[in-house]
Structure formats: C-alpha cells, structure tokens
Subunit: 385 residues, 2 copies
Amino acid sequence: MKTRLFTPGPTPVPEPVMLRMAQPIIHHRTDEFRAVIRRVSDNLSYLFCTAQPVLTLTSSGTGAMEAAIVNTMSAGEELLFVNGGKFGERWGEIARAYGLTTHELAVPWGTAATPQQILEMVAQHPAVRAVCLTHSETSTGVFTDVQAIARALRQQGYEGLVMVDGITAVGAHEMRFDDWGLDVVVTGSQKGLMIPPGLAFIALSQRAWEFNKTSTLPKFYFNLAEARASLEADDTPWTPAITLMLGLDEALQMIRHEGVENVWARHARLAAALRAGALTLGLQLFASPSSNAVTSITLPENGSTFMKLLKEKYRVTVAAGQESLKGKIFRVSHLGYYDEADMLSILFAIESALTDVGHQHSEGGGLAAAQKVFNQPHTAPGEPT
Amino acid sequence: MKTRLFTPGPTPVPEPVMLRMAQPIIHHRTDEFRAVIRRVSDNLSYLFCTAQPVLTLTSSGTGAMEAAIVNTMSAGEELLFVNGGKFGERWGEIARAYGLTTHELAVPWGTAATPQQILEMVAQHPAVRAVCLTHSETSTGVFTDVQAIARALRQQGYEGLVMVDGITAVGAHEMRFDDWGLDVVVTGSQKGLMIPPGLAFIALSQRAWEFNKTSTLPKFYFNLAEARASLEADDTPWTPAITLMLGLDEALQMIRHEGVENVWARHARLAAALRAGALTLGLQLFASPSSNAVTSITLPENGSTFMKLLKEKYRVTVAAGQESLKGKIFRVSHLGYYDEADMLSILFAIESALTDVGHQHSEGGGLAAAQKVFNQPHTAPGEPT
C-alpha cells in the first residue's frame, strides 16, 4: 500500500515543486533570482487579495507571528487574543515574552469566538491596541469568522489592529485582506502553499505600517521595514531559503492557474465530503464551525489501536490531538495539494480501521456520502466563480 | 560551457543531498524524523568538536547571531565587536537593536584583529560581557585567529563570553569549540555544510548557558533554552524546515565519512592552490591573513568587463565586492563541496577572462601553479591527520 500524508502541515508537495527544488542551486543576488522574487511577490499579493506587499521570511509561521507583534507594538501596550486552541494561545505567549499586557478571551477548545464576545472584551479594555485571531485553529479544526469580527470592530469605531493567524487558512478559506480591513495576516509555506516548511509570509495594512513607525519593541532579523525596503529592490535583507523560494514560485503559479476562488471552493468541497463521510460512518466531528483546512474527529472506541492501524496497516499519516486533546481527537488534513480521490483514500483507510476495531457502520457508506457531495453542482476547476 | 557556482553561500549542493530533499515529504512528529534529529545532532557536535548540543534554527545565519545575543545578554550590558567587514559590523548592529552598549574595534577591511588589540579594548572597557568575533569574514576573505584571541582573553582572566560568527568558517577551518574555550559559535547551512540556505546552527558553552539563566532580553522564536529542551526529546519547538534537515542529514554523513580534519585540510589545500594560481597570473590578494573559505582578489584593469566575461562567457558565478569594496575586489569561494579539478575550472575561467581584457600573464601559469600545490605532500582524503 502506498504511503499517504494527511497532516495539516507539512502537506503534500506537488511533483513540479519537488523537481524545481532539486535543480542545481543558483545565487540569490542575480537577475534570475530577482525575477523569482518579483513573480512570487506579485502572486502572493494575488493570493492575499491585497495591494500591499506580502513579505517572505525564512522561519516557521511562529516567526511571522512574532514579527507581527514586534513590528507593530511597544512595551507595555495592551493586546487581546482568543485562546481557543494551541495556536490562539501562542499569540498571548509571544506578546507576554515581549512585555505586553495581554487580555485573554478563552473559548472552549472546539468552538469559535463570536464578534459579540470580542466587542465586549474590547469595551472592557479600551486600551487594547491589537486583537489577535486565528482564522483556522489547526489544533482544534475550528474556523473563526474573522471577516465578521473585523467588520463589527470597525463599526464600533475600534482603531487598533486586527491581526490574523492565517497559517492553515490562507488558500483554504476566502480571505480578502484589503476588502475585509485586516491589518496583519501571517501564513506558512507548508500549508495551503504546498511547499516544505521553512518560509513564512506576512502582510501589513496601511494602518499597521503606521503602527510600525512608532513601535519600540526590539527587532533585527524580523525587522519588516527592512524587509519591505529590500523587496522594493527585488531583494531580501538576509540570504533567503533559495530552494524553497523556487518551489514557492512553482506552487504560486499552480494556484494562480487554478484561480484562488476555485482553490477556496475546492477546499470547501473536499472538507464537506470528508465530514459527510465521517458522519455516515458514525463518527463525531469535534469542531464547530469546522475549518476547511483540517477536520477534527472524535476518536472512536479503541482509539490508540485505531490510530496505529491507520499509520501501520493503511499507511496514512493523520495528526493526533495536541495537549488537552491528546487521545481525544484525530485530525485529517485536506489543505493544499488534494483532490476528490484523496478524500476517498482517507475515508477508505478510516472505514477499514474502524472495521478492524469492531466499530459498527454501513459498508462503503463513507465513500458513498463523499460521492454525493462531489455530485452536487459546483463551479468546475478553472472556471472563475 | 557548463554553469559553475563559486560563491561563499550558497555553495554547490551535492547530488545525494539534492535527491534526498526531492523525496516525498514526511511529517516531523514521527519516529522516522526523530531518528534524523538524533543523527543530525550527533554529527553537528562532531563537526563543532563539542560535547554540547548544537541547536538547529530555521533562519539564515543572521538569525543565529541574533539568537546568540538575545539568549545571553541583558539590556544595557556592554559588548565588544570587531568591525573588519560587513559581517563583523553586523554583531554591533544586532546588539544596538537590543539596547546593548557596544564598543567597536575597527580594523581596516582586509586585515584581522590581533589578540593584543582585543586585550587592550577589554582593559579599557572592563564591563564588557561579550567579545564578538568573525572567524572567516565573508565580505573581505580575512581569517581571524579566534583560538589565539580566546586563549589570550582567558590568560588575562576575562570572564565574559567569546562569541564567534563561524558562518563561513565551520567546515573550512579547524574549530574546536570545547578545547578552545569558545562560548558561542554560529554557522549557516549554505556554507561548509553544503545544503541550501534556510537553516542556522548555534552551540553554547556551559558558561554561555549560565549567562542564559540571567539574560533578560526578550525572545520567543529564537529562545534557545526551549530549543535545547525540545532537542533532548528529539524534537523542535516549531515546525522545522524538514527537507533541509533531511539534506543536512545526508551532508553531515558525507563530512563524517571524509573526516572533519580531512575536510579542513582539503579546504586549506584548495585555497592555497587558488591563491598560488591567482598570484602567478599577476593578480593581487586582498585579504591578510586569508580565509580558507573564500579568496578575495583585487579586480584587474577593466574590472567590470572582466566580471561580465566570467559570468556570461565562462559561466562561472563568483561574488562581487560588497559595500565599500564594490568594484574593488571579487571573491572566489572554495567552501564546501569542491575538489582539485574545481579549482582548475575557476582558474581557467579567470585566466581566459584576463586574456580577453588584455592582461599580461604566462599562458597556463595559474593552472601549473595550482598543480604544484596539489603535488605537495599532504594527508590523503580519508586518512586521519
């Protein structure tokens, strides 16, 4: 049986990306590489739906989250974050490491913060200068409606920043940076961008760049004003991760060719099919509302045997639960380079492992449920929506 | 004519490394990847000649330099750095960005600081808590005797840290972290380690880890205590650059197979041959003493035509001078995956371009001079020195 990867980062790397990265390395201060920087930058702005530059950092997504804070905030300022999972929590950890005063809106893991809850917290703490959200919380599979939250905040006259961890959301969910009035969005390379980990991306709004001018937190490697100045000269402040940039160039061209709206629609369709299949097999979904990047499913009876079977007998790698969710859920990714048949592969593995642990369900029911979703009318790949 | 790369980062990537990185990606929280982390960690300690853990960061070498400072120092403390080139200067820039008080020992670019100069500066500024050096200054091609400086400092009873930028030195020059009493050494992946850029490495001495306990500078992504704790569990705090780690695993096995002392000896031999060839062609060496990683050569008459010919007619990529050395020197790398015949390739290109611009020299003299160096008795690859 083939080995298949269904984790929300790293996600499978398309063959043209692998081959592009395997070519003899080129130097980064050359016309050839400057053309790559220009094309990548243009395509990243397309992906983020923004006229702002999207900056590329050599780091994990966490590095870009840190960059978001140290480039816009000053010591002692107040910041609100939503703790609805491990990654939401991380906003608070970074802010505290840099001496900010943090206010935590804790929501039960598996659920999302509402605009109303955010408005109440901001009303209680009017000095809050940044609201930090997680568009798709990878640890729980929850989707947060950052568009509605940003709109509600602006309607109330909030003048601080709306910062979004879009690490597993960008490419999976509609995200219109400019139209939605977001101030900072970060993402990582090993997610919807379909390349190996090692790069992170960040966009700042005009408002965030204004905050940058007065931000006093120390920064050097993650200094975004430097990165922006370099980008204007088709350059980077430090040696970039050249091979990953070349892979990115290839991956972004694939996204642009498919069309970003079609990419979003594909993720919605695959997620809906997987959820329908899992429910038909008698499994319970953990997250509500559910992200289109990753589906969290409550572990069935004999959970550890079930996980072992998936990995060893059916050769699919899914993600286990993290921290308090360890042993309670498993997470299946449909983020990035996946199509319909991939969802059938993972449903086949899940059903087979369920059968092996003695779970009761209709034979082939998961696959049939997925097929029903695929049969529903939808915009075909390649057609503009 | 084939295209050949002679830049001091990125350096050529060996074919087995390229092929290892081109395989389907694996997840990092798996037994398979934990085995890679263990083997890489063991081989990095071998390369650094240390019993300390060598930590791997996803960043450029500059990120590791920042990590060195923010993990050992506190705001307001004093630090001495040597400005003998662009990278020595960088130590000071990072330190100032984090609010340290810096003392600069400026030496003419192209020359190295002596132990005596360092001792005098430390005597003048007894509150200095860290002396920051550059083992091989990539921008000038200068070698600094960090072993002699560390020894002199300890003999004078200096109790601060000796921090070394080993970015182009590790793998090219003898460096015995424990025996020499160094406190911090950093390096990058696209140098002597022969893999693409995107990873950086850092080792801390027992003394530096003591400094870490009281260091108050803010850090999160580059928190080395977290990285060390993760490494003890064969893990990383953040998603690592998986493909680069796999390439690193391959490259380190090549270094271990050749033997680190043989790797140092090979770099010395190739550098000596290139220098002998350049001198025989009537060129002038810029750096004294010269690094075994990169040779800086004063540009001949018609320098810009000469550089254009190298790139376009002879298809070799060398590095130009940076900042104040732009238009004055060019730099040829022999760092990483090079052998004797590679030095003949670059000497052939240099001689041919010199002939094209009307430079006078003995035909084939550069190649003959290199061959003489290669004919001198030396330890054969594979034999311990």
